[in-house]
Amino acid sequence: MKKLVGNVLLTAGLIGGAITAARIPPMWGGLAVSLAIMGAGIFLRRQGEKEELHRAAQSGTGGVKELDALLTDAINRIEKILDAPREEVVKELTKILEELDEFAEKAQPLRIEGLMTYGNIMSIFSRGERALNRAWSAFADGYEEEGRKYLRYGYEDLKETLSAVKALKV
């Protein structure tokens, strides 16, 4: 509810601000009022978002628990293909990479918990994702040795990401 009200106030402030600022010369008083409305909207929106994230974490339908589950699944699947034939690795890795994209999208709300924490997690995750992308390319090109090396790197990086996610106290 807070987030919705926040969004409405933010939009109203933006429309008002854009109109008053568009006049030649701008209506500075009108712009100031609009900015105040936007400010209230931003405050409510951020509060609402934080509460939403905590609720999701408690119910287990989103937040850290969901991220944990997504990563664990990806790690288990990679474990199974570490020594699998090349064709099977390419096929399975294509699907795993698509699902990891979902992890990245679902991790966005973690920003609310602090950008440093979010940045650290995504930095490790992305390094692993890039390693898996390289593994995919190498396998697709027929360079199996390089492929296996980077598959292993990606696997290790995802495990490190999982540890960082588990360490979160949301």
Partner: protein
């Protein structure tokens, strides 16, 4: 279908014994990238000055790369071809920065006041600065903020096509063919043939809307494809466009805020040019400054991570060392200081101020343009150029030649930054090593300015510049900008008001909101509509068919739509060079 998949499988398996070092930076990749990039740079410099268009050309380079590396040399890899497209676009990318600025000096007759060597130094330094300034931004925007970079994503799709199976390749080529054919048919009038498909459609006229309602839509499959890849972020741009054109414009008209002689179809143009576009430029700036402040923790994480990369075991140091960034900042500072002091004859204090503000501005502008292309694929270069010229004229005591010369450094740097980020996004998606990509860009980016400046010089000697034969539209626009600023005709109040709004929007918690809304006010509705339509289709399909459908079906088609039209622009550039086409 099963049969064709089997054939592809066998074709790939033929190289499965190739277990040597994985081919990435190879002489073949660099030579091919430089040659193709030089060809594109020469073609687009000429075509840009005559017809007014340029293109990055990464996707075309990727296709040419496949043709040569695998088709002729029979040994290319995905990451090796990534190096081909990276080098080719690095060589080609300085074209837009050069043709926007340097020809203006010729048009104003000021080129004789500056040694030609300065032209090269200013533009080559810009090319290198754009690359070094984004070293920490790569981690922040691509790995942490996960920006989409639609062109980079499209190029990655092209690069991965041979290993992705027949179905994706088929979709990519269908997209390419449809887009290329539509563009070709649209250009019939240029070739002396009757018009069959127009370049835009006036929906307002079809729906009998009042004349002042601007509802024209460009029929560009490339722009539609950009939207198809962008998705959700583009919806904000569409909403902002609606706010600008269909809420602000009627209210402004109703309140009688327009001059009495502005009526009918001129209403929309007036509001856009004098009210919403300047506001949009201000929002872009305010939004990106807020973004920079908010992103500081992430940038610190990125810098730490780059520094820690060297401590990783297993020899996995894949980041370009941070010393390159410091070297870039020092180079930029010294270049601006020496140029302002020597060439402009400014005192030491003012030269120092010019250098400090100039470096800070190049960083902020590079960040803004990278953020904007990352979220939407649109690059607000002309708006930034206006602000650059304004800042530089003030710093240099209104010395026009020096301003344009330094403007060339800034222009090349910001277009280079945007291009490099797209290439690094491609690299991330195919598993390229970032430091290798950045090093080949640094090694080859200076070649582009030599080619572009040589072509400009040759055109000047052969035809002159700024005439019927060579209209040089971008440089003429810069000349008008300089004249407007010197005449005090710049809406600074709108920039400030927009800046405050953009700053506040970016504090909302929605990443990049100020930049997105600013962009929607800065762009004409003509392009927002097809782009927004693509975003709506993306979101609709994502909800109905899921993420997998987007990756497996939508992405290859969208990449094809972008590549097909881009290939045609190169063809038309070549036809212009050959004298087949002329405005």
């Amino acid at each position: 279908m099963a049969n064709t998949d089997l054939k592809l499988e066998k074709a790939t398996s033929k190289r499965s014994g190739s277990n040597g070092k994985y081919r990435e930076i190879t002489p073949a990749a660099i030579i091919l990238g430089v040659l193709w990039g030089a060809f594109m740079a020469a073609s687009f410099t000429y075509a840009g000055m005559i017809m007014g268009f340029t293109s990055g050309g990464s996707a075309i380079a990727a296709i040419v790369g496949w043709g040569v590396l695998r088709g002729i040399l029979k040994k290319g890899t995905v990451v090796e071809n990534n190096i081909v497209q990276t080098v080719a676009s690095a060589v080609n990318i300085s074209v837009s920065g050069v043709i926007f600025t340097i020809p203006a000096l010729y048009i104003m007759g000021l080129h004789k006041e500056i040694n030609t060597m300065y032209f090269f130094l200013a533009t080559a330094a810009g090319a290198i600065l754009g690359i070094t300034f984004i070293i920490p931004l790569r981690k922040q925007m691509i790995e942490i903020d996960r920006l989409r970079f639609p062109t980079g994503t499209a190029v990655a799709t092209v690069l991965k096509t041979p290993g992705s199976g027949i179905e994706k390749a088929r979709l990519l080529f269908i997209g390419m063919a449809v887009s290329a054919i539509v563009y070709l048919v649209q250009q019939f009038p240029v070739l002396g043939l009757p018009e069959i498909i127009p370049e835009y459609i006036d929906l307002g006229a079809i729906l009998h809307l009042p004349e002042w309602v601007s509802l024209a839509m460009a029929l560009s499959l490339m722009v539609f494809g950009m939207g198809l890849i962008t998705g959700r972020n583009g919806l904000i741009v569409l909403a902002g466009g609606i706010l600008s054109y269909y809420i602000i414009t009627p209210i402004v008209k109703t309140l009688g805020w327009l001059p009495s002689d502005v009526t009918g179809g001129a209403v929309s143009d007036f509001v856009y040019s004098n009210m919403t576009r300047p506001l949009g430029i201000g929002m872009l700036l305010g939004g990106s400054i807020a973004g920079l402040i908010l992103s500081m923790p992430v940038i610190i994480v990125a810098l730490r991570s780059i520094a820690n990369a060297s401590k990783l075991g297993t020899g996995r140091n894949e980041e370009l060392p941070i010393k390159y960034l410091y070297a870039g900042i020092t180079l930029a500072f010294l270049l601006l200081l020496v140029t302002a002091y020597q060439l402009g004859g400014l005192g030491f204090g003012r030269s120092l101020l010019t250098a400090l503000v100039g470096v800070a501005w190049i960083f902020v502008a590079s960040l803004l343009v990278a953020m904007s292309t990352g979220m939407t694929d649109w690059s607000p270069v002309s708006g930034l150029s206006l602000v650059s010229v304004m800042i530089l004229l003030y710093l240099t005591n209104k010395q026009v030649p020096l301003t344009i010369l330094l403007g060339a450094t800034v222009g090349v740097a910001i277009s280079g930054a945007a291009d490099m980020m797209q290439d690094l996004k491609t690299g991330h998606l195919v598993g390229g090593i970032p430091s290798r990509q950045q090093k080949v860009e640094l090694l080859t980016a200076w070649i582009g300015p030599i080619i572009a400046l040589t072509v400009v010089g040759l055109i000047w000697k052969a035809y002159g510049i700024g005439n019927e034969m060579v209209p040089a539209p971008q440089a003429m626009a810069l000349k008008s900008m300089v004249e407007a600023i010197l005449g005090g005709n710049v809406p600074v109040d709108k920039f400030i008001a927009g800046g405050i709004l953009g700053f506040a929007l970016s504090m909302s918690g929605i990443p990049g909101l100020g930049v997105l809304v600013g962009l929607s006010m800065y762009l004409p509705m003509l392009y927002i509509l097809p782009y927004g339509l693509g975003c709506v289709v993306h979101e609709f399909l994502k909800r109905k068919r899921g993420n997998e459908f987007i990756t497996e079906k939508v992405l290859p088609v969208a990449a094809g739509l972008m590549v097909g039209e881009a290939a045609m622009t190169l063809l038309f550039a070549v036809l212009t060079v050959m004298g087949v086409l002329h405005p």
